[in-house]
Subunit: 502 residues, 2 copies
Amino acid sequence: MHDRRSFMKLGAGVAAAGAMLPLTASAKCAEDDVSWDGEYEVVIIGSGFAGLAAAVEAKHKGAKDVVIFEKMGVYGGNSTLNAGQACFAGTDLQKKLGIKDSADLMVKDQLKSGRGVASESLLRHSAELGPYVYQMTKDCGCVYRDFIITTGGTSATRSHQVVERSGSGFIQPMLKTARKMGVETQIRHKFEHLIHDKKGRVIGVNIRKGYHFGFEDSGELINIKAKRGVIIATGGFGYNISLRQAQDPTLTAEVGCTNAKGATGDGLIEMLAAGATPVHLAHIQSGPWASPDEGGFGYGAGFSLYNFPHSIAIDRNTGQRFMNEIADRKTRADLELQRRDQNGNPNPALLIAPKHEAKNDPSMAKVLKYNVAWEFDSVEAIAKHFDVPLQPLKQQIADWNSYVDKGEDPQFGKRMNAGRGIKLTAPFIVQRLWPKVHYCQGGIQINTKAEVLAAKTGKPIPGLFAAGEVTGGIHGVSRLGGCSTPECLAFGVTAARSIMEA
Amino acid sequence: MHDRRSFMKLGAGVAAAGAMLPLTASAKCAEDDVSWDGEYEVVIIGSGFAGLAAAVEAKHKGAKDVVIFEKMGVYGGNSTLNAGQACFAGTDLQKKLGIKDSADLMVKDQLKSGRGVASESLLRHSAELGPYVYQMTKDCGCVYRDFIITTGGTSATRSHQVVERSGSGFIQPMLKTARKMGVETQIRHKFEHLIHDKKGRVIGVNIRKGYHFGFEDSGELINIKAKRGVIIATGGFGYNISLRQAQDPTLTAEVGCTNAKGATGDGLIEMLAAGATPVHLAHIQSGPWASPDEGGFGYGAGFSLYNFPHSIAIDRNTGQRFMNEIADRKTRADLELQRRDQNGNPNPALLIAPKHEAKNDPSMAKVLKYNVAWEFDSVEAIAKHFDVPLQPLKQQIADWNSYVDKGEDPQFGKRMNAGRGIKLTAPFIVQRLWPKVHYCQGGIQINTKAEVLAAKTGKPIPGLFAAGEVTGGIHGVSRLGGCSTPECLAFGVTAARSIMEA
């Protein structure tokens, strides 16, 4: 369908080429041919965190008509598949809990995880919008738990979690709010191509109406005019096997992926075709909290995210720890992937959590029910079941509990106060750990106005905005947990403001 | 000029969209409008290693008319700016010198340097074509030195160097041969856009004839038909500041670059617009052999490349070595960039070479003549001039010479036989070391037939081929020295074969 877009761009041929080329006539006759099937002030592609935040903010800013097109049969996209956590710095909840934090500190943590190539300006813009975005989600009806969670690589406890412990806890209230505000929402409407005017400005989109995922020619093509601008919020490409494997030959179809099936990168590819700048596509993140005993994102992630601070991860060959259980994601995923048996086959590490604490989070019931984790009455039982050397394991657990007393981890420098002094004692809940493809740090480049920048010039492409996982360069080599949701929301808000204030 | 391409693709609109869209008429009238200003069997964009190898091989394979379009005012592009070294495994010269090597070993070295994300199939294809390519260049009149050089990260001595010690030693004989074979060559002809047919196949190019670099609208646009196929061999994007800085915020306009000014990535960007797959753009290599005391690639590179095996690199703060001087490029560049003064400002390391050996290579005269390196009679003189602690430096040099005797480097595990037992004694030649942006591992994805693969499907784009630095994913995170030239030549040859054997 490359060709359809090409045709749509045709009008643009006149201004730039018309003078010097013998094509004005045909370009003209093509011009006359662009027929619009509908028009809105703001056209948003994708109904995840970024798309919904853009829709709500556009309405706040007085947009008369706003539409969201979603290619799948349900709203929310990949945003529904996570633990419902969002890192915000400087919220009222943090103050109430006596947690000292700031946008500066959050940016510092993210720059470190970005390994020197993260965008400080984009990170700062997102972090500073955090408290506004946090309040906006609450105004939409999102309900947060009354405590805050420590996620890997952060120097302050700042991961705010909705009571549903799932992204749907953001998506459903925001979708409801957007509709209440008059935003039109359409499922099974797939973004095919951008439509440009004579000057190369994006003035609309070509949409496949009545699309059924997996049937590329299903439905009919319509042209929707965008009077103010188009916001692409189509997410990552974790499920585009050839594209991700081009970046990393080891990410074959056999490697697990936590994403929603719709994460195929179509929006990214269309923006590249429009001259957008690709950034960091090679930086693909695997989730270190995933379980090999279930498909997709699953229940294991919620369990391990809650328990990492006060639990230990064990190498089955040695019976000992091999990492700081709250290090950043890339550090942990890389180390987990090194757990192998003598034949080099995966030998997933064991996350050993104390039931007396694990039971305080609903995730425990889920992982036990679905056989993603198991309960053991003693260290002996764990060693026997998983074939782990008993004495080293006993010693490791004893050592760990002494670290809890001392408040200091001489093995891996883990921030012990995150574990709130909780001892690792029987009975234990044990989950296996093996990374899955989770997030694309890479995408197309935007600036702090969420404008899409052209690869040839580094300048904005007029009328085109993007937000969320489809963008790249913000997080660098590795993204910290709980830091995508706030970024998606912040740049969705930013794109809407840029369009409405233009 | 996005639009012009869009127009050019218009023909393709009919087949794909015609059935379902009310545009056939105008698409048709546009179709009738594509006026060709010339036609050739094989159209090659770029006159560097890849483009010239493609031209010569296309003629070998019986192509009647072949054209090379070069946007700059001279031929050779960035390929002329290097030390004229090419790693080949299994050549007659290696056998004559008693060097055991193989394509397998070369691939193994490159996979290691690629940090797990290099393409084994592309590396193997290139390595196995090495001896053929080596012979082909000799048949073109390229003359190699009668010894072979050890470059960083290789486990066998395999860098064959032309007597000119510059890429022009390849370019000039190949250009002459190509013309003798009847290849038409044009300078100041800039590739603007690809032209597709109804089925989306690439059937030609839009060229800016009479282009003057830096004046984007200079010259006139013409359409050239490619009866068999188009080969894009336009090189890297080291001089596209916004694109490289998008990948790495530290690569600002102030950072030096060894490339030819024409390395702006236009060909890469045009292929992305045609739906090609971007790979590893974030992996940009800096040359660890560069000198901060001259612009561009300069003379320092030739000097340090020749002397690294039997010389030592010193940190000015400590007077001691800080790296294996023949480690792979990324390892060395990263370590060199860590040499800083107490204020964090660059404090370039010193490469200390023995004159009694350095003088055997013509590069010494150049670096001394142009003040890129300086001669010192004693260790004291070096310490005084560069403010290096004397005793540690004296000790380091003594230690180094003991390693030469033992044939083993306990400090950094350097392969000592590469230094051929040469001692580091006065007088010394000293050059400063500071990396410069040198090579883009990233580009668009090709397969072992040099076909360009689409991002959406992973399948080849019909009629479109690419070779050389404009392609990506072959070398992974880091490319070994002397391994771009053979790859450019091998995939140029491969693209020509794929087109002629199709």
